[in-house]
């Protein structure tokens, strides 16, 4: 399993695509970070007098994490689209299928490999608000809740991306399909009534709780069940490659 994860991670770094994505993501997020910081600096004078005014964590760090999640919605499908589709196309999947590892281990290996890469992106993004700790007081509680939320939403997108990739032999189709699904999950609660089914299924709705600094079992459960569901579905797809139809 770890052999597969390791290979997946290294093979990502061997493609120019991964480096490009890493660079573009950092550039976009750094720009957003600076704009947020500027806006905060301008508003500071008016906020100073108010009791219970929003701090730098709420004004800068949390919007940045939300932007990062938004970028992930586009980025993750691009990273996961090749995971199984490309292996199927290059006929290398048989190497994994004939190896003494279970279908679940193959899928987990892929997931961990992609997750490690995404973890690097999240980590680099987090350095930006963390740099503010030098001059200001950061709310580390809220920040870690936001970080957990960001990791969970990224994990959910990754599991979803892997599942779509296991359904097709065309990486481009896998990318488009996964992007469509992440976008759908993101927009699901736009303009719907509060506490409706759509709102409950919307990924943004659950993510925002984390950004407010709340870690609730319901939101945690939503993401964990989602990740587990898509990984399970992927595993059955891979197992079906071996077993009779």
């Amino acid at each position: 399993m770890f052999a597969i994860a390791k290979r997946e991670l290294f093979s990502l770094f061997q493609t120019p695509l991964a480096w490009l994505l890493l660079a573009v993501t950092q550039a976009v997020l750094a720009y957003v970070f600076l704009r947020l910081l500027q806006a905060f600096a301008q508003a500071q004078g008016q906020l100073q007098g108010l009791p219970g005014a929003p701090g730098v964590t709420r004004m800068v760090a949390m919007p940045l994490l939300e932007t990062c999640a938004f970028v992930m919605m586009v980025l993750v499908p691009l990273l996961t689209m090749r995971a199984f589709a490309e292996e199927e196309r290059a006929r290398t999947l048989v190497l994994l299928l004939s190896a003494p590892v279970s279908a679940a281990a193959i899928v987990m290996g892929k997931f961990l490999g992609v997750a490690a890469f995404l973890g690097i992106i999240v980590g680099l993004t987090l350095l930006m608000p963390a740099s503010l700790a030098v001059g200001t007081n950061l709310d580390f509680g809220q920040l870690s809740a936001g970080l957990l939320g960001l990791l969970l939403i990224t994990g959910l997108f990754a599991a979803l991306g892997l599942f779509v990739s296991s359904m097709t032999v065309q990486p481009a189709m896998a990318g488009a399909g996964a992007f469509g699904m992440t976008l759908m999950l993101w927009m699901l609660d736009w303009g719907v009534e509060r506490a409706s089914l759509f709102e409950y299924l919307s990924v943004l709705h659950h993510f925002r709780t984390f950004l407010r600094g709340l870690i609730s079992t319901a939101d945690l459960g939503y993401f964990l069940v989602g990740i587990a569901l898509f990984l399970y579905l992927t595993t059955s797809r891979i197992a079906a490659r071996r077993s009779p139809v």
Binding site: A3, S11, A90, V94, A99, V245
Partner: protein
Amino acid sequence: MSTSSLIDATALTRRFGDLTAVDAVSFTLRRGEVVGFLGPNGAGKSTTMQMLAGALTPTAGGITVAGIDLLEQPAKAKRQIGYLPEQPPLYRDQSVDELLAFCAELRGVHRRHRAARIAAVKAQTGLDEVGKRLIGHLSKGFQQRVGIAQALVHDPSVVILDEPTSGLDPNQLREVRALIRELGRERGVILSTHILPEVQSVCDRVLLLRRGQIVFDDSLVTAGTGSSGELVARVAEPVTDTVRAALESAVGVLSVRLDGPLELTVSHDGRAETIDAVVCSLSGLGLRQLETEQRSLEDLFVSLTLGREH
């Protein structure tokens, strides 16, 4: 080496929807044996090999590898198997060394033995020079050898090679055949091919498949030598009627055909004495060239796979 069976396949069946690709195939592979899978395209050779390698689960039937049930204990059984699919499963963006290291780790070769195993298979398959090169940049022949190397890196007792010699030049062909024979001494080897002489030069036993069924399973002694064959000769002087009559009357000669004034084909019963007698008669005419053609395997292939009942 002992003659314990390495693979026992019983009534192996695989259906794809309505199509039965492999139909109740049973056979055994013993240690120290090279078995050749022959058959026309679509006969079920590759499907059978995929099932033996554990990449495809059979619809019905059982497989044991070195006494371990492949379907019940796949992880344990698969460590005993090295498999080269028809298209070598190679990550083009990895170097040869990286791929072999990945395969070794994937198949549970202990960290301490990995480097030694990789060096050993590279030497065996002639890849010493290209370890650092990217697989995508290698020629077809080298890629094929990397494919064979990855199948051997975990030191399996059964080696399954699906058309291992496709895309190789004549020199590489000879090297790979020698390698297969060497592998066949200590392990069990199954290979599939379209090239009949290859089966004759490499395999101990041949399995003919047709429409998913085994139509022939026997050693090559029965299939090849000992049965009829042909001698194609080129001589210096024109073949006279007397020589021809003498040839035709010799014991064991079935027919004599003149292909030209200086060329003739003699069909014989395959006994050594008959061949000796024919060569003796021809040497009087100044024998310049002599080819033996063992037609029997090809005849067998054609007659069994084309299906005379139709």
